[in-house]
Assembly symmetry: C2
Homo-oligomer: 186 residues x 2
């Protein structure tokens, strides 16, 4: 039940409404760490309230409810954070990369190019996001959540590009072994 802990983690920073939390998922968590949408978040907040992990600390004009983390919630989060276990992973992007080696050489090469282009687009977006964040922050501020996420994203996109290039090089090497023959006769 990682969603629960994701919400606790966000609320540990400061109290927020379900709407706020949903936005923070969209801008950071959902991209690289843990996807969730509002239809999942709202009911979970309710359940967590029943379980005493969070509580409604304020109600706004439009029926909005601001949730805060309770002591019990803080303890639960801390406990979970220190479990060194990597839970199950799901990522279509990485899966696609892995299956690269199952394609024929030409297709694989085409796909690599596509992956690299896609990674570059994503990286450009992330760099813009970083600039927006840095521009809006005062010196001495704790960097906002989204800044950390963007940095992770940038590094991850770089990893994808590098790995894809490495993989295609491996495939090339095994396809045309050591004795190099030029563009020669057949």
């Amino acid at each position: 039940m990682s969603l629960r802990h994701a919400l606790l983690g966000l609320l540990a920073d400061r109290p927020q409404t379900g709407y706020d939390l949903n936005k923070r998922f969209e801008e950071s968590l959902s991209r690289y760490a843990w996807h969730a949408s509002h239809s999942h978040i709202y009911p979970e907040l309710k359940r967590m309230t029943v379980d005493g992990l969070v509580e409604v600390v304020d109600e706004g004009t439009r029926g909005s409810k601001t949730y805060g983390i309770t002591e019990s919630g803080t303890a639960a989060l801390r406990e979970w954070m220190f479990i060194p276990k990597d839970g199950p992973v799901r990522s279509e992007a990485v899966l696609r990369l892995f299956l690269l080696s199952a394609l024929e050489a030409e297709d694989a090469r085409t796909l690599i190019d596509q992956v690299i282009a896609h990674a570059e687009t994503e990286s450009a977006e992330l760099r813009e996001a970083v600039q927006r964040i840095e521009a809006a922050s005062q010196p001495g501020d704790k960097p906002p959540f989204a800044r950390f996420a963007a940095e992770f994203g940038l590094r991850f996109q770089q990893l994808q590009r590098d790995w894809a290039q490495w993989a295609i090089d491996q495939l090339d090497e095994s396809a045309m072994p050591t004795d190099d023959r030029g563009p020669s006769s057949d």
Copy 2:
């Protein structure tokens, strides 16, 4: 429905039994790309047979069924591979990293150390795996699937360590701003 495509990808390499496929998930896909267990794999293979994406090409002594990819399956895989979309992501490990910034400074530091230690253990395991694989391979062989996965794993563990270190540095910087400009003007 990524499981389906993961299975197609594995079967594109060569025909395999559900048992084989399950092992390959355990040793490669499940760790960094897409987790699945046998209780999920077997029924899916059946459904895929009905849908004509795979077919039973052989039956072994112990009731084992060897599945092969069909033309229709190859086409479906290829189509899916070239969609540039990153689907939803789920990774407890990354989630934990992200929530780092929600912890108190001391806790965050302790956790970083733990993350680094854990990453080192994983990396050591992966390096061993790589050695086993390289030792067993003949020059000119196409590198096996697990080799690609291990390489990805190594790079990903490195990313986790680097990012975690970067993150803690950011938190330190904002916690103790440099109101004195150091002796540097080198």
